[in-house]
């Protein structure tokens, strides 16, 4: 049965009326019309649905919406505001800003089909928050061995992702 659930998504308060066990993914996509997180495997095996929950990457396809209550949900649509807040930018400047991870993904031309890349950027943001200067081995480890599964890209953009994470790391220190 549907309940009124209050969420904090990309800095805004959202009230949705949904069954509490509904996976967060379907609430973000169908109720809040956010297209960044996308359905892949539906069982936490690929990472294309990943979002940040209080800064930690989770798989929204298997996370009940009730689990997100009281936590900050961030999708790629909300990354510019995250960066603007970190840098203390004015509201006007914040609108013109991309998160360095997003900018690096553009500069390095990472996406091919791009379907998995929202999830990849979520891993990158979390990694760079915890380790501002990751080695290639540490980047590979973060995208492969963090539970619950490796982040998979069928187009094979892994090399571009590594380049982009390193570029973003430099930009964030500048």
């Amino acid at each position: 049965m549907a309940n009124e659930i209050t969420l904090s998504v990309n800095g805004a308060k959202q009230v949705v009326s949904v069954a509490p066990e509904t996976p967060l993914l379907f609430v973000l996509r169908n109720e809040l019309k956010l297209s960044g997180p996308r359905l892949g495997c539906g069982m936490a095996q690929c990472g294309s649905c990943s979002v940040l929950l209080d800064g930690q990457e989770i798989r929204s396809c298997v996370t009940p919406v009730s689990f997100a209550v009281g936590k900050r949900v961030t999708t790629i649509e909300g990354l510019p505001a995250v960066w603007a807040a970190e840098k203390g930018l004015s509201a006007e400047d914040a609108l013109k800003t991309l998160h360095p991870v997003q900018q690096a993904w553009i500069d390095e031309q990472v996406p091919q089909c791009g379907y998995c890349q929202s999830g990849m950027m979520m891993v990158a943001v979390q990694l760079l928050g915890e380790n501002p200067n990751p080695t290639v081995a540490q980047i590979k480890d973060a995208f492969t061995n963090a539970p619950p599964s490796p982040h998979l890209c069928r187009c094979g953009t892994y090399a571009a992702i590594i380049d982009a994470v390193q570029r973003a790391a430099k930009a964030m220190k500048a």
Partner: protein, 782 residues
């Protein structure tokens, strides 16, 4: 579900996307005195799509100097939308940023054709731009009172005689009346054709308009960015999965229990638990629909449990694949070419003969995002489909055929979605069949989202192969003759699954294979090539069994694995360095230069394989290196693999891969590098991990822990070599890289162990059995 919030973005874009009767062309036409004569305007049955003989169907110059280019081809994830913009910008002398592409919309684009067929697609828009350039020069000459020969164009600004005018000013308020010469036709169902559908090539722009010499290129050859990337990274892209329509139902499919099961009874829905969900059924097509996606998902799960299907078990089981292919009575070859008598004679006279058998399993496209489609079938007979298919016109024709409506009534709109690597090239497979049938049955727009398990079980697959090859080597260690025979199930079955299950019309290809090899060794003149085809595995099922379809670098990926394997075995038999051995069998300067450049980049030390320290027993790690080449679509490729093999476990770790290409003129070096590296990742995935498994009833590799693909940690260092030339035309680059990986990895295992791997994937289990001599792999030397 309802939502209370004030911070929404606008309603999702699809509310404004019903564009029936949309203005088909905005720009304009004029007759240019400079237009080359001698072409006939083609009478085109354009089926409601823009007329490809009219310039305005292809290209529109707006008064703000932006240029709209329309092509039925689509972006498949390899960057061709950048290359199209570069080609048009080059011929028009404008900046590529001013080009806006409209792709894959049957109501707005004129040509159709294969999205993967980038070279022909680019040739089309490049010629259209070149014709337009000439026409614009004519207009400017009149306007400025300066002969066309005295005009120069920079960034869309035409100057001459001290005056200048922009393209936008030239055409403002005018009709550009220019005819474009084309050949071809839109797809039509034609069961006499091998594919079952004619016209999948779409239209070709003909004639020879004046075009820029490659040495004069300013935009082609630069690393222009792919236009769609910024929106993909910021969340602005509207993907096909983002389409929502008023009153739309979400559907989840309930598939048969096996690849041949017929429906006995449909399970019921507990309306207390799922008040908005309904079962929809036609023939063996069963779905659960609801306005609420999560309710559709949960209700479909319960319906699946209680739905009853008949038993079926007509598959051989994937562990018996090779045995089954061997037992097949193949009949006459689908294609055969070469010098039969000379090859037999040369083989008999050879100082050494090598005879080897190679095997490959079923593999699949396995997109990260499973199939999805949205359809709106109206009572007035109109059909609108939102798709991520790479063949909008072919799909449109197939849908019209299935629903028995006129093609003109069907509109197919392409949007970005997960890459599919050739799976929708023929306009079929996909969720579109499900979506149109369910929309017709419910009278509402329907969004069909397949699950991963469903995608990995029910979409088409790239079939398994066996190959028998023989080579004769003379006393000087040169190959004097080569005989290759390839055997495989059908590889072009692109029927719409929904139509198959519902028992509605849908056409397929005839069984048969094609010779995909482009021969790079012209010094091996005595060769005989044969390919044999058979129907799908499990073809006696009412649904046709495991439906085979093309996948990235089709045919050649499989054939090159065997051919280059045999060349590597022949080099070893001749005690020759594998690169030097290849150079002795070709005089093609492009290939020789690329071999040298790639070898240098990989610090290749000339010596025969196996490595002097090679061993197959004992503890610890052995190292090896191996290589292969390929010629495909005017591009030469070289792959060099370096690996470590842990003997006790059979685990293979590729530590470095060097890949070189000479594709003639490189259009976009950075994007080509991205495609080469990502192609190596896919190729390593095929070489080391991928195999579709099935039992007698169904596919069993239906999630990512059973259908394993390469992870980031498993990716080696990848080094790229590119050679660009101004005098050899354009070659393919978006695919092919995957196909130069498995033969190089197999050769590196031979180098490390002295045992040749004639099968992929090179899993620890297979490698261990291979090294112990427990794998039944035929090979003999005499």
């Amino acid at each position: 579900m309802t939502t209370k919030t004030e911070t929404f973005r606008d309603a999702p874009f699809p509310a404004t996307i019903t564009r029936r009767g949309f203005v088909k062309m905005g720009g304009a036409l004029f007759v240019s005195a400079l237009f080359p004569s001698g072409f006939r305007a083609l009478a085109v049955e354009n089926q409601g799509s823009p007329d490809p003989t009219l310039l305005a169907s292809w290209l529109e110059i707006r008064s703000d100097n932006t240029i709209v280019v329309r092509t039925g081809r689509t972006e498949t994830g390899t960057g061709m939308s950048a290359y199209y913009a570069q080609a048009v910008a080059e011929e028009l002398n404008v900046r590529p940023e001013t080009i806006l592409l409209v792709m894959g919309d049957t109501e707005k684009t004129p040509d159709g054709g294969y999205s993967a067929g980038f070279l022909s697609g680019m040739s089309n828009v490049r010629k259209v731009a070149a014709y337009t350039h000439q026409a614009l020069l004519g207009l400017a000459a009149t306007k400025l009172g300066v002969p066309a020969s005295g005009l120069i164009v920079v960034d869309g600004m035409v100057s001459g005689g001290g005056k200048s005018v922009s393209y936008g000013q030239l055409v403002e308020g005018q009709q550009l009346d220019l005819k474009i010469p084309v050949e071809g036709k839109f797809p039509q169902i034609d069961t006499t054709e091998w594919m079952g559908v004619a016209g999948l090539d779409g239209f070709t722009v003909t004639g020879e308009p004046p075009m820029k010499a490659m040495s004069q290129f300013k935009v082609m050859g630069t690393s222009y960015g792919v236009p769609s990337i910024a929106d993909k990274v910021t969340g602005k892209t509207k993907w096909s999965c983002d389409v929502t329509l008023p009153g739309m139902l979400h559907a989840r499919m309930v598939r048969p229990a096996t690849l041949g099961s017929m429906l006995i009874s449909v399970g019921e829905i507990d309306k207390k638990q799922f008040p908005t969900a309904e079962v929809v059924r036609k023939g063996n097509l069963v779905a659960v629909v609801s306005p609420n996606e999560w309710e559709a998902i949960r209700a479909a799960r319960t319906v699946a449990v209680s739905t009853k299907w008949s038993e079926w078990g007509g598959m051989p089981g994937s562990e018996n694949l090779t045995r089954t292919l061997r037992a097949q009575k193949w009949g006459a070859p689908s294609e055969k070419k070469g010098k039969e008598q000379e090859v037999h004679t040369a083989l008999q006279r050879a100082a050494k003969k090598i005879s080897s058998t190679y095997e490959q399993p079923y593999v699949r496209h396995a997109p990260i995002g499973p199939y999805l489609a949205v359809a709106d079938v109206r009572n007035d007979g109109s059909v609108t489909v939102w798709t991520h298919s790479a063949q909008s016109q072919g799909l449109r024709t197939r849908i019209a055929h299935t629903l028995n409506v006129a093609v003109e009534k069907v509109v197919v709109l392409w949007l970005e979605h997960s890459g599919q690597y050739g799976r929708t090239t023929y306009g079929g497979d996909g969720a579109e069949g499900d979506a149109v049938i369910l929309s017709q049955l419910t009278g509402k727009p329907v969004r069909v989202q397949w699950t991963l398990q469903e995608d990995l079980a029910w979409s088409t697959v790239s079939p398994g192969w066996v190959s028998d090859l023989k080579a004769g080597i003379d006393a000087n260690g040169r190959i004097t003759s080569m005989h290759s025979a390839f055997y495989s199930p059908q590889e072009s079955d692109a029927r719409l699954l929904g139509a198959i299950l519902a028992g509605m019309p849908t056409t397929t290809s005839k069984p048969g294979m094609w010779i995909a090899t482009e021969w790079p060794y012209e010094k091996i003149s005595n060769r005989l090539e044969e390919v044999y085809g058979m129907p799908n595995m499990g073809a006696d099922s009412v649904y046709g069994g495991l439906r085979g379809n093309i996948m990235r670098t089709p045919g050649q990926r499989q054939q090159n694995f065997a051919l280059e394997g045999l060349i590597n075995e022949a080099a070893a038999a001749a005690s020759a360095d594998p690169i030097q051995f290849r150079k002795e069998h070709t005089s093609e300067p492009r290939l020789i230069e690329l071999l040298d450049a790639t070898a240098k980049a990989a610090a290749w030390e000339p010596r025969p394989s196996p490595h002097p320290g090679a061993r197959k027993v004992g503890s610890g790690v052995v190292k090896g290196r191996g290589m292969c080449i390929m010629l495909r679509a005017n591009s030469y490729w070289v792959g060099i693999a370096e690996l470590q093999l842990t003997l006790p476990t059979g685990e293979v770790k590729v530590s470095k891969f060097t890949i070189g290409v000479d594709p003639g003129k490189v259009i976009n070096p950075r994007q080509l590098e991205r495609c080469m590296k990502s192609g190596v990742v896919m190729g390593l995935s095929e070489a080391l991990k991928e195999e579709v498994t099935f039992d007698k009833e169904k596919v069993t590799s239906t999630n990512w822990s059973r259908y394993k693909i390469l992870t980031m940690e498993e990716m080696p260092e990848i080094q790229v070599v590119q050679i660009s030339r101004d005098d050899k035309g354009f070659g393919g680059g978006s695919e092919a890289a995957n196909a130069v990986v498995p033969p190089a990895v197999a050769a590196a295992i031979f180098d490390a162990t002295g045992v040749y791997a004639r099968r992929i994937p090179l899993t620890p289990d297979y490698v261990t059995k291979l090294l112990k001599g427990e794998w039944p792999s035929k090979s003999s030397r005499s």
